[in-house]
Amino acid sequence: MNLTEVLATDLATLSERDLAPVDVAVLDTGIDATHPDLKDRIGEAFEIVGEDGRYHASARSLPENHDPFGHGTGVASVITAIAPNARIVDVQIVGADDLETGEALVAGLRLALLRRFRVVNLSLACHGRFLKPLTELCERAYWQDQIIVAARRNMPLLEHGIPAQLSSCIGVDSDRLPSPFEFRFRAKHPIECIARGEEVTVAAPEGKYSVQTGTSFAAPAVTGICALLLGAYPDLSPYELKSALKALAGV
């Protein structure tokens, strides 16, 4: 791998090339794998189940609609639209019977680390009390050459969002940008990337479409770009990938 070659990459052109497949775990509300845009793009599906305060991953059948909210389906469709080489792994961490998203997020991330999915998209954040386990998991992912892309919180709180603000992750904020391949890099800020997250047309369950706004839909744009770069240059380390993002970003 030649870093100079990476830095000369045109992302839109890259998305038209035949690239190596990259596993992308989407930890979210589940995905409707029957949607025409996502059909044959979902490789595996899991749900995080809580029993007596313990959480574990349970495999699910495909192709089925596992998304009661539509959020995860929208997120996955942003990734697949950018990166034709992305093989999506659906990990439902926000379910109908659980008010504790933080515990499920930790369990979902454990699964992603165990299975070494190359890229993990988190269009969610959790409370500061999960800082310690998430810091440890994200650090471990970094050393396993896994990329965690996480959305900044939309709520105006004191923190930017965990794990988005961790240095071992790629934090993403949103803005109105003309192209999904366009993004900005913000030096010396815990949330480094700014991607297209305003009025994004996404897939919705039952074969429908919607227009969504928020950091939730900006993070998967960066995830898709990461999948493209890793498909073309599989040996990129998290450090090299972040450097490449900085070099490729618009002003």
Binding site: T29, G53, P68, F69, G70, H71, V94, G95, A96, D97, D98, L99, T101, L124, A125, C126, H127, G128, R129, R153, N154, M155, P156, L157, S174, G197, E198, E199, T201, A204, P205, E206, G207, K208, Y209, S210, V211, Q212, T213, G214, S216
Partner: protein
């Protein structure tokens, strides 16, 4: 506007015709007006359920028709944009779903669906107490990131308001232990009684605070250990 004072009192400890109730109403009216929503609502988490599974419409401003019909209606936490905001503790922006990409991009009106929705969680620390929503039926209307940000700030202020009321109630309980048994839901009354008892214990034992602290730590370890 629908004044579902009982719901606000039962679930948030906000009494009828209190300054807090007026401020909550003003806050939702103002936030809805600024983002250009025809309707704004406050849904409270039903804390009488263990664990809480539903949100209840407790206040609606703006649209006369909805003001009369929404109060008391229940929304499962596992459904829709309001449920998603409740589960993720994140402000969410909603839009209708369309059969095709072009319709979605044109923002055509969809019969039976609002054109745009914002749902922002009301939190005390990381505990959900309710959700405030903004709804627009104007064809093609879309809420922006700035609109959501504003609504999220309004929800944060509403959360602080409810928290302040609870803290004032705890102080009242200290002054008048019998007041702990009045108003609010059963869990809230129990919480006030426990808080009051601990505060009285601390005030009555100034020379034995270290022992009280150890005792409480042991109790906490025992309780949390068992709940796990």
């Amino acid at each position: 506007m629908t004044d579902s004072s009982t719901l606000l009192d039962r679930h948030l400890g906000i009494a009828a015709k209190s300054p807090e109730q007026a401020v909550l109403q003003l806050l939702i009216e103002l936030a809805a007006q600024v983002v250009g929503a025809e309707e704004g609502s406050l849904l409270v988490l039903d804390r009488s359920q263990e664990p809480p599974r539903e949100l209840v419409f407790a206040m609606t401003v703006g649209s006369g028709e909805s003001e009369g019909t929404l109060a008391g209606q229940r929304v499962p936490v596992g459904e829709g944009l309001t449920g998603l905001a409740a589960l993720t503790h994140e402000v969410q922006i909603g839009a209708p779903t369309y059969e095709g990409v072009r319709q979605a991009e044109r923002g055509e009106a969809v019969p039976g669906q609002p054109s745009a929705v914002i749902a922002a969680p009301m939190l005390i620390e990381d505990t959900l107490v309710g959700v405030i929503t903004a709804v627009s039926f104007e064809p093609g209307k879309r809420f922006t990131r700035d609109d959501a940000n504003l609504y999220a700030r309004a929800a944060s202020v509403a959360g602080v308001l409810v928290d302040q009321r609870r803290q004032l109630d705890a102080i009242d309980t200290l002054r008048d232990p019998e007041s702990a048994t009045k108003g609010g839901s059963e869990p809230e009354r129990l919480e006030r009684e426990i808080t009051g008892a601990v505060s009285r214990l601390v005030r009555a034992s100034p020379g034995r605070l270290t022992e009280v602290k150890r005792l409480l730590a042991a109790l906490e370890a025992l309780t949390l250990g068992r709940s796990r």
